[in-house]
Symmetry: C2
Subunit: 397 residues, 2 copies
C-alpha cells in the first residue's frame, strides 16, 4: 500500500471541492454539477464531474511504492507500478460515466426509494487517458478476446484501496466479464489521466478503471488489485446493490440472488437549461441538455414535446461545439453523450418533455411507474420541466 | 450462376408451402405462422418459419457449378464452392430472425403505413448450421477483428441471386460493418443448414447469411457474392427502406439520406396464445408468447398486466421446454427468443398487456404513436389482446 489507509469514518483529509457543486451527501462525499454547469461544455471539467463515493477519499501519495497486484486464476501474477502501466500504448477515450442512480430523486417522488438522492446531473463526459485493460491482461498472459482462461477464469475483478463501511464489506469491488475486458474494441481503460491532466484524488488517483457504456459503479477508482476470477465478483455493490428489480419487489420480499448485476444501461436524456419549475417571461426559451445510451449505442434522435407527448419536434444534436453529431458515424465518440439544443416560443404555462431514441431504436419509457425499483436505479423516463409565466407564478405564491 | 435465372415476375416454380401459413402477399410470397403454431415449440419448424421475399424464389439446383464470389477491396478474390464453405469449421447457432416489419398491421391501425402487413409472427427461431463469416473472410486474407482493411474496406456486402422488381434495383443486397463480420463472437454465419437439415429453397438454398441480433433484412438468402466495400451498401433495401424515421416524417417530406440503415433492434414481446379479440368462458386463461431483444441482449423479465398497465406480474420464461431461462447466463442462447407462459383467472371482459425488459434495462414503449414511422418498422409497443366473455361478445353481434 502506497499511502495511509483511512478508516471508513476518517473524513479529515477530503480534497477541496468546487463551491458550485450540489452536495447530495457529505460523508461519504456525493455531489453533482448544477444543470447549467453540466451542459456548458461537451467535455465536463474535472471539478464539475460527478463525485460518487462510498467512503473517504484515499490518499495514495507515495507513488514510488504504489503498484497494482494482478492475480487470481493466472499463471503469472504480477505487480505493476504506475510506470509499468504507462509503458503500455496510451489511449485517449472520450466516455460518459453515469451513475445508475441518476434522476433518483425524481423516481422517489413516485414512490420512496432508498439511496443518495440525485437530480439529473449524476454523470459527466471526460477524455480518459491510460492503457487498455486488454493490453494489461495480455502482459500477464491473457490474450485478446479470451472468454474463459484455461484455469476457468471468466470475470475480471477490480478492488479499490478505499474503505467502505463494514456492512458494505470493506474495499469497493466490482467485476466485468473477461470477454469484455480482453476486447480491445470495448476500450476498457486502466486510466491515469482525465481531460489531459493527471487523475485527481476525487476521481481515482493514481489509477482507476473506466468501463465505457456500462453503469459507473463498475469503473472502480484507486485501483489496488485486478483478479481473474471464476464467477462474478461477490462484493456488496455487485450482489446487494445496483441490480434492477421490478416495481412489485420491495424490501419485504426482495431476493437479491434472483437478479444479475446491472452492466449495460438504457437510453437516457434530460433537459439541463431549465429546472423542474421555472418562472419565465413569455418569449423564446432555450431547451438544452444531454442524451446518451449504454453499450456503445449512439443516439439516433432527440425529440421535444410541448403538448404532453402528443406531437414531437427534433432538437439539434452536437458533440464538440459546432461539430454536428452523425448517427452511425463510427469515427464519432461512440461512448460519449450528445448535447442537444432547440429554441421554442413559449406563450403561456407549458410543460416541456424530452425523450431520445438510440441506434437500436430503444426508447425511454413514458412514465416512471413501470420502471420504479426499490433502489431507484436507471430512471430513464421522459424528462419533464414546467414553465410558469411570471404572472401565474405570482398567483401561486 | 448454378441455376436458371428467374425474371422478377416469374412465379411459376414456387416451392410448396404449409397450408396453415397466414399469407400476407402471394407474389412475392410473404407469410407467417399462426400465433399458436409459432409458440408451440422453442425451435420453429422450417415449414412454419417466416417467409419474407422481394421476388420469386431462385432455383439453384446445379450445386456442382455453384460458387460464391468473394471480391471487392481484397487482395485475393476467390470463388468458393459449397464444399469449400463446408470444409471450414461448422457452427450451430440458435438465433431468432425477426422481420423489421413484424406487427406492422397493428401500427397501421394508428395511422396508415406502407408495406406488407404482418401480424405478430414475422419471426422464427432456428438452429442455423454453417461456417462463420469471420472464417470465410480469414480464408481470403482478412484477419479476425478487422474494422478497416489496408485498402480501406469497412463494410461487407452480401448479394443474392434473386431478382427483385426493377425499381428495387435487381438482386437483393445488404451490408454489415466489417468489424461485425470479422468478430467470431458475433456468430455471423454463412449457413447451409436450418434445424439440422439442408437449407430449403424458401430459406436461401444453398447458402444464406445469418446475422444474429440484427433485423432480418441483413440476413441475405441465395448468396451470390460477398464483397468488401468502402461505404455501406447503396442498394435499395439499405438506403430506401428499413430505416427508422420519426413520426413527423411522411412521404411528402422524407429525406432518406438523413437516417442510417437499421441494424440492431429493440426489445420486443407479444402474446401468441390469444388473438387480438377472443371470446372466452370465464375461468383460467393461458397467456403465452415470445420475448427477444437485439444485439445479443438477453431478456431480463416479461410482465403481464390486466389493469391497463397499472400493476404487472411476472411470467415464467423458458427456452427449451422445461429449461428455465437464466438472464445473464452466457451459456444460454444469447441470440434467441425466450418463450413465456402464465395462467390468469379471468372473471369478465379483460385487456391483457405484455411487455418485456432486456438486460440493458431497455423497455417497450407504451403507445405506438411515439414510434410510428411511415414504413411501419420496429413496432415494439406493449402488446394488448382483449378477452370478451361469451355473454358480452354475443351482445356485440
Amino acid at each position: 500500500m502506497a499511502g495511509a489507509l483511512r478508516g471508513p469514518s476518517d473524513y479529515a483529509q477530503e480534497p477541496t471541492r468546487h463551491p458550485s457543486l450540489r452536495i447530495n451527501a457529505k460523508e461519504p462525499f456525493n455531489a453533482e454539477a448544477t444543470r447549467r454547469d453540466l451542459v456548458a461544455s461537451y467535455i465536463t471539467p474535472v471539478d464539475l464531474f460527478l463525485k460518487r463515493n462510498h467512503g473517504p477519499i484515499p490518499i495514495l501519495d507515495d507513488i514510488a511504492s504504489y503498484y497494482v497486484s494482478i492475480g487470481g486464476l493466472v499463471d503469472r501474477p504480477a505487480k505493476l507500478t504506475l510506470d509499468d502501466i504507462k509503458r503500455l500504448p496510451k489511449y485517449n477515450v472520450t466516455a460518459t460515466l453515469q451513475c445508475a442512480g441518476n434522476r433518483r430523486t425524481e423516481m422517489s417522488k413516485s414512490r420512496k426509494v432508498r439511496g443518495v438522492g440525485w437530480d439529473v446531473c449524476a454523470l459527466g463526459n471526460a477524455t480518459w487517458g491510460g492503457a487498455k485493460l486488454s493490453d494489461v491482461l495480455q502482459l500477464i498472459g491473457v490474450p485478446y478476446h479470451t472468454e474463459i482462461t484455461l484455469s476457468g477464469g471468466k470475470h475480471v475483478e477490480f478492488t479499490s484501496v478505499d474503505q467502505c463501511p463494514e456492512e458494505k464489506g470493506g474495499p469497493y469491488k466490482a467485476s466485468i466479464p473477461l470477454g469484455h475486458a480482453t476486447n480491445p474494441a470495448a476500450d476498457v481503460l486502466v486510466a491515469y489521466e482525465m481531460n489531459g491532466e493527471v487523475l485527481k484524488r476525487d476521481h481515482g488517483y493514481p489509477l482507476r478503471v473506466v468501463v465505457p457504456g456500462v453503469i459507473g459503479a463498475r469503473s472502480v477508482k484507486w485501483l489496488n488489485r485486478i483478479d481473474i476470477i471464476e464467477e462474478e465478483c461477490q462484493g456488496f455493490f455487485m450482489q446487494k446493490d445496483y441490480k434492477m428489480f421490478p416495481p412489485s419487489v420491495d424490501w419485504d420480499n426482495i431476493v437479491w440472488s434472483t437478479r444479475k448485476p446491472q452492466m449495460d444501461y438504457p437510453v437516457q436524456s434530460a433537459i439541463c437549461s431549465l429546472e423542474d419549475t421555472n418562472a419565465i417571461i413569455p418569449g423564446e426559451v432555450t431547451v438544452a441538455g444531454y442524451a446518451l445510451s449504454g453499450g456503445g449505442r449512439g443516439i439516433e434522435r432527440v425529440e421535444i414535446s410541448t403538448d404532453g407527448g402528443r406531437t414531437w419536434s427534433g432538437a439539434v444534436r452536437y458533440q464538440k461545439e459546432g461539430v454536428p453529431y452523425v448517427p452511425g458515424d463510427v469515427t464519432s465518440d461512440k461512448w460519449a453523450w450528445v448535447l442537444f439544443k432547440t429554441v421554442i416560443d413559449v406563450r403561456g404555462d407549458t410543460e416541456i418533455i424530452v425523450k431520445a431514441v438510440d441506434s437500436g431504436a430503444n426508447v425511454q419509457p413514458e412514465s416512471v411507474d413501470t420502471i420504479w425499483n426499490l433502489r431507484g436505479i436507471l430512471n430513464t423516463c421522459w424528462h419533464r420541466v414546467r414553465l410558469l409565466t411570471i404572472h401565474n407564478l405570482r398567483s401561486l405564491l
